[in-house]
Amino acid sequence: MRGLVGFLLFRVLSASVTLLGLTLVVFTAMHLIPGDFTEVLVPRGTPEFRKALAERLGLDGPLYWQYLTWLKNLVSGDFGASLITSQPVWKEFAGRLPVTMELAVLSVATSIAIGAPLGLISGLAGTGRFVSAISRVFCGFTVSLPDFFLGTIFLYVFSKYALGLTVGDFVPLSVNPEAHFRGMALPVLSLSLLGIGTVAAVTRETVFTLSDQDYVFAATVRGRSMSQIVRRHFVRNASVPLLTVISIYLGYLLGGSILIEQLFSLPGIGRYIFQAVQARDYPVVQAGVVMIAAAFVLTNMLTDIAYGVIDPRMRAGHEH
């Protein structure tokens, strides 16, 4: 039990160190980019005017001081206000986070729903066979096609021909659920392609590993059908590797859907942060990156802890 507590403490501590380091990196990076907010806002204004503006927005002190102030506020839950809209940053994100989260969750769900059966089928078909070759090429293809390219093609095809799904017309779920999902389908599909291939490949591998196990062989000897075996052993065995890839994929989706959000005009956080970088809206970018990273670190940490709890041997790797 002491080992488990120590392991948990260690994970939480290292996650906090990671996030602290990240705040420093994102703050420094944002302030290193040429063109600060006042220059972007009034490029033809006088230097005096810009100075007054900087004072008003709290952008005038030395950088380390600005960083510490920001950090202090961040720890106490104050994310600051957007320099452009003057709205609290949390409020700006509150409306957008659900869109990106939904995009991520739906993409993961789609990936599992399509990828896992595919992987299972091709895994059961065995290696070196035609089915295996097909599935390898398919998995290879899905993880190789850039999502923005697929999105571009969707954008054209689905706007040209009325195929039931809409492009770039985001309708909130609360307004009209049907229209909402018709608008989300294509972005989700563009983003899921990578996930489908990854999940299928991992599932396939697991099936192979599984068929190597003695107990599976024994079960076969006992006359159990393959489907029974899969039902009995697969879920338990596949959960760990699947959990790993899905946690990484989820993290990727939280920060990686910028291009898709842009292409399909979805009001998610990726597009918002990306635009904020270009407007030098420091509080928004900083809070956004920290938020995405925190979600990412948290997912990883939970996954790690899940491993650690399931399998005590896994803890050793972290403690040497």
Binding site: S14, V17, T18, L19, G21, L22, V25, V26, A29, M30, L32, I33, P34, T127, G128, S132, A133, R136, V137, G140, F141, V143, S144, L145, P146, F148, F149, T152, I153, Y156, K160, E205, F208, T209, G251, Y252, L254, G255, G256, I258, L259, G270, I273, F274, V277, V285, V289, I292, A293, F296, V297, G317, H320
Partner: protein, 285 residues
Amino acid sequence: MSIEATMKFFVRLRRAMLSDTVSAVAAVVLVLILLISIFGPFLPIGKPDQIGFGPRLGGWSWSAPMGTDQLGRSVLARVLQGIRVTFVLSTVSVAIAGLAGALVGISATYFHRLADEVASRTADIMFAFPPILLGFLVVAIFRPGVTSAMAVIALITFPTMLRVVRASTLSVMRRDFMLVAEISGVSFVDRIFRHLLPNVANVIVVQTIYSISLGMLIESSLSFLGLGVQPPAASLGSLLRDGATYLEIAPWLSVGPGIILALSIMSINLVGDATRSFVDPTYRF
């Protein structure tokens, strides 16, 4: 690995790869794409930046087999340049990331717990940073272009490299022969180079291959946002970006580069799978 051992490794790898149809086809496709792009400049298809080589947005012709773009440049010439740029960019930056990852990974793991912690946390920070934003920030801080794009690819692929190397170094170090070597007084340098490195090299090679395909994806995303190579130079990503707008009236601008990009990445991945199954017998496809 000595040169001789390396040669042997690749000879056996080639044999293994050719014994599997999918891997063999992937390897052949990859080699073909690379060969065509290398010899591209010697083909009579126009220079990639020759404005007005053909009509604007012209379709198929003998001199421009893949049509011409919005400035009347030969799309084929640009695609070939794009493949070269994308491949070289990705390979060089992944090589840098791989080297750095291996060095940091091995030394940090080997030397001190603190060094290991620092390296791991740094990798975590980079890993947690949303990749496209990281790319944008790096490019905006320095100036956009080939160097920045390479730095971005290296930065994004580095943490994974480091983690993989670290994990396998840890597992190798626990093996008996490392202990034996240490007890029997084998020098530190020899232990690293003769015992540790050969045993983690396989993992590094596999990870490098996968990272190159990831690097190509990163490059194309960056260029799609206009942050990659600078005009008039082309990369597969910048071609996709320029072509995306013209999808309806001139699909040849983006479909060709898109397919070639996907095909290249896929071939690299399949070759990576084959290599992996070769060095790690428990992995099968």
